[in-house]
Symmetry: C2
Subunit: 308 residues, 2 copies
Amino acid sequence: MIQKLIDNIQKTGAPIVVGLDPMMKYIPQQLQKAAFAEFGETMEGAAEAIWQFNKAILDATADLIPAVKPQIAMYEQFGIPGLTAFQKTCAYAREKGLVVIGDVKRGDIGSTSAAYATAHLGRVKIGSAEFEPFAEDFATVNPYLGSDGVIPFVESCNTYDKGIFVLVKTSNPSSGEFQDREIEGRALYEWVGEKVAEWGEMSMDGAYSNVGAVVGATYPEMGKKLRKIMPKTFILVPGYGAQGGKGADLVHFFNEDGLGAIVNSSRGIIAAYQQEQYASYGEAAFADASRAAVEAMRLDIAQALQNR
Amino acid sequence: MIQKLIDNIQKTGAPIVVGLDPMMKYIPQQLQKAAFAEFGETMEGAAEAIWQFNKAILDATADLIPAVKPQIAMYEQFGIPGLTAFQKTCAYAREKGLVVIGDVKRGDIGSTSAAYATAHLGRVKIGSAEFEPFAEDFATVNPYLGSDGVIPFVESCNTYDKGIFVLVKTSNPSSGEFQDREIEGRALYEWVGEKVAEWGEMSMDGAYSNVGAVVGATYPEMGKKLRKIMPKTFILVPGYGAQGGKGADLVHFFNEDGLGAIVNSSRGIIAAYQQEQYASYGEAAFADASRAAVEAMRLDIAQALQNR
């Protein structure tokens, strides 16, 4: 599956993923009104507003981007209707040829991790039939439980041609509380990175592995170190834009081949119309504002890579 | 909410939680056949079988136990119908007066963790209305992302009188890969335990905190250490029974007051009829076998606590 992501990146020239993390405050009033008129002020109504919002953004940006990353928490908070909107969003994005990275941060042990892998990447067998529960292409995975927690996902990658991104160094301010602590002279995130490289050998797909890593844009020096520790690992880089990461911070996440990283922006793209820079689009043209923000992000990263 | 759990434990004399982790292979043929006859060999059919299985076990054991712990992965793998069965199971258990510990192992950063907390413990506001998406009483939380990831859950505990159990030392064989690594002379799980105690101060409910910890029965020596590091923390102890933990291993997880721990058994209870010891019940009386297994587990733990 990593090869499919690479193909999409090369086709679009944009190592970019749009985070579909639709909070209600990002959704234009007209969409909310229409959804609530049809379904009432209910979880179904909120889910409909989210779905229409995502659909408009996908329609406006799909030709420019290789992938989207829906954050499942933003859907899960609207219960079953919300998760149905998550599922519809994943399916619609895949129909458009996009790679879908489910930001689910799952992780458990043994058969439980295997069940999560089935839910998000695999197929569940029921009698003689098989079903794809959520049908993402990649899932994000939490490594705290060790190999027992991660390897069932790697097995699903091999069985179904899928991929994962394992949390290594997250973008948030308190990520250092545990991840930066020193163990025999090296930070925990380095040890996790080493394991990711090891797990990655179990699922190679061309020059890169289906087992990727999450490393926050907000920690460029650590990105540089991890790039060396995990040379065949694709790095999913959150924290660009709203969280403070800039194009110039990102160059060390990429390999010499110009590949090896994909940068996420969520509210910087999907809520672009709420930012001063794109305010002239107005609420009605929110999806056009998102398209403009994707183009600006692509340029920012391309220039940073040229100047490195 | 921890006080409600303590009340239930004292009422039943059983510091026990039944893990409702229904794999299809545990579900008697007669239940599967009836469900598939009604809904076909579909995810709806599987979800119905799971729900009928859980309902029978809850009906047979609810008066003996304080709490249940449904493992959401086992439901998520059956997609939307599976998650609907999860929701029904949680609601039915709460109707019976049980405390519901959602074993969801969620964890992310900032507003995303807040969304997970809303999904599992809180209420979501939509216009002037409010809804409880999954309506658990406790949720398990992964600490890898640090305080940013955990505190939004603690805030939900305070707002909605709920609780969490943070993963500290998990029961699986590879849990030591990261959790046991030494940082300034102490294992990572000890540092995490210290943080749990600190977060716990933010949500006290009587003598114990609403912020609990997960520590595997398979590591009794570490349980002893963690008991001291987190004196006001309730410990959820998985790994009893099928994973190899015994009553005698558990005593150090408890405080002098006889409280402070709750021991989980999943397949040891719900699939008791498949074990030699309870085979005489037969498949049709699977729920009675579960009841007998709960009684045996209660006795094993009570004896171990008496003999300590």
